[in-house]
Symmetry: C2
Subunit: 397 residues, 2 copies
């Protein structure tokens, strides 16, 4: 299998609203940042992969069509990938297969999110559940993950302060990231005192609805060598799917435990096996993981093998996973909790992981980072994707 490199990445700042650009202009902004970072132009791009899901969030039907020319992509192969919140990383994986197939040397992943155009994001996201039994509960992404948080508390003895500490860490990181949406530092007390959305999830435990764009340029090993380039390298890829029905994830006859993230753990294991990672906590310097609510980050850290099940709260309380600590630093960008431009949140994870392993992450840089893992979650925690990156092909022996 030929190696695939990440030659450049780009992200706009993530904000609540962008009234100064149309959706295609926004997407173009992110794409140009990625192309500039890669030192190439659209003329050098062989194919485009475009992440978007679901349409209704951006207030435009079939947004992919409007973006072809905004990207300068007319005349090139163009593929839209649509996997819920995992869409951005699924698009990166689709681009990886494009390059690894040997058919394309340079593939651009470029997309954007403009959730400010949706009057109620939750009423759009509610559509993902079974229409007969589950949608009317009413399930939405907040109530779904409140169920998971309660289960995590029950199984592992965690409490609301444990969740709040995730937010405190990520906001501290986001304060160092000029692109992050929520950058105001907060205390555990601030989070605990914030408005309850669906107990135990409070406003301080929740991601924002972000507008922004992100892009990445993937290249073949052949192209990188021919041009004397030093991209970051995608070393491992893992994907998995979980059961659709929430009713199968709770109760005494559950098929999967909604409090943990066992199906995501399989996606991580697949990426680790491909990359040769046998000791994630020892081999990985950075984790840019998809966790839109504070409670989710705890079980994703565990699924990634960075500590045992139920151990994340204590580790976090003793200062681990935060910038400056020893071991793997989790979400030095501030993560999804501080910026969630849904269609490109998975692209942003790749972008941040790339900047980290190349030592280009500015104030949020993890010192000496050479390796990273990134992940994404889509649908009702149904679609999972993960990537392992390294600075050189020699990293991860």
């Amino acid at each position: 299998m030929s190696a695939v490199g990440v030659l450049g990445v780009g992200q706009t700042p993530y904000v609540t609203r962008r009234a100064d650009v149309t959706f295609p202009e926004l997407v173009r902004e992110g794409a140009l940042l990625a192309l500039d970072d890669a030192g190439i132009t659209m003329d050098d791009v062989d194919a485009v992969v475009f992440p978007l899901a679901p349409d209704a969030l951006i207030g435009v039907g079939n947004g992919e069509r409007w973006c072809v020319e905004a990207l300068g992509a007319a005349g090139k192969p163009f593929m839209r990938v649509n996997n819920g919140g995992a869409t951005g990383m699924s698009a990166v994986i689709a681009a990886w297969t494009h390059v690894a197939s040997g058919m394309f040397d340079v593939v651009l992943v470029a997309g954007g999110e403009r959730v400010s155009e949706s009057g109620s994001a939750q009423s759009v996201l509610n559509k993902m559940w079974d229409v007969g039994y589950e949608r009317p509960i009413p399930l939405n992404t907040i109530t779904m993950l409140a169920l998971s948080a309660v289960r995590y508390m029950h199984a592992h003895g965690a409490d609301e302060a444990d969740f709040a500490r995730v937010t405190v860490k990520n906001r501290r990181h986001a304060a160092l990231n000029p692109l992050a949406h929520l950058r105001e530092p907060v205390t555990v007390e601030d989070v605990l005192a914030s408005r309850v959305l669906a107990w135990p999830i409070k406003l301080g435990d929740a991601c924002p609805s972000s507008t922004g764009a992100a892009g990445a340029v993937l290249v073949s090993e052949r192209y990188a060598r021919a041009h004397g380039l030093r991209p970051a390298w995608i070393r491992g890829i893992g994907q998995n799917t979980e059961t659709f029905w929430m009713g199968d994830r709770v109760g005494p006859r559950m098929l999967a435990d909604h409090g943990d993230a066992d199906a995501l753990a399989v996606a991580f294991e697949r990426a680790y096996a491909m990359a040769g990672v046998t000791d994630p906590a020892g081999q990985l310097d950075v984790a840019e993981i998809y966790a839109p609510f504070s409670s989710v980050e705890l079980h994703v850290i565990e699924a990634a093998g960075l500590c045992g099940k139920g151990e994340a709260p204590a580790r976090l309380a003793q200062g681990d996973f935060a910038l400056g600590a020893k071991g793997t630093i989790v979400n030095p960008s501030g993560g999804v909790l501080c910026s969630n431009p849904i269609a490109v949140t998975g692209v942003a994870r790749l972008a941040e992981a790339t900047l980290q392993v190349q030592g280009r992450a500015g104030d949020r840089q993890v010192e000496g980072a050479r390796t990273a893992v990134a992940s994404a979650i889509g649908g009702d925690h149904q679609f999972y994707a993960s990537l392992v990156l390294s600075a050189d092909l020699e990293d991860i022996a």
Copy 2:
């Protein structure tokens, strides 16, 4: 580049309505037919690619999520591809990249369409146009292609009878295809006398709104050899995109001529270059091409290089392209004009091409066929995909 084979294909009959199954059950039906044809089960499948676009046609938001378990795909990588009418073939191409990358040996493409759930398919499809200038005209797929048909008539001296002859040929073919939706033979006079939808397109020139499912199993050369299997082979892949705006395809300053299909011709050329096809009319036995209206088939035949621009009407009038004629037979299945299950229409083209090159197409078999080309069109004739297939890797010298 390692070769990718088509080990099995499956299609349900295409009909107006299926009240006996839910959408996931329908998708499962097509998938099981493909798995059975391949002689494998879901246990043997490494990853799934799922074609669907747009959601509103099937009356369910995010239909991909509901289908994971219906396909038995929980625990496997799963990717939704969403490229308008090209979606089915784009999904096949995504599956091709999955296999060609070396990461997966067996990939299932499985999807379904249930357009009967949409009160008005055209009001859904109308969403694909520019909201400011073009949607209010009102553009829909019929009026868009009526503009193209008029331009074709003007440029190439064709008339309504030339279009009608396409329908006559395809209905004659569909009468031999037990899966086709519209199987009633018609005459040129019948078509000319049918109700005008948007002149010069009449009901007899238009595809039906079909409900049905289709699937295909793609395998690596390594897997085929290890198991002593003889799949059909995907020899060439081509994709291209056209300008989004209809206003840029008409008038004295047009960037592309809406009467022809020059951007699709590029997609064909790319597939031919990869496959080593230098004389399409001489080397290809079968063409299963995407043409939802009779007029479209004429310019797609020309874009595929099966005759020169403007020559298709005369060739058709003298009996070419029809079962029993010499040279390339076009749409022996009856084509999209007789069955259009949008999400899987591109999968159906692959399925029919596979059956033909393997001599398994029953009454619609093109005698001695060893090679085929297939194509799909998506959006407002914006996304193009094509494939070249052969029975053996030695075909197409």
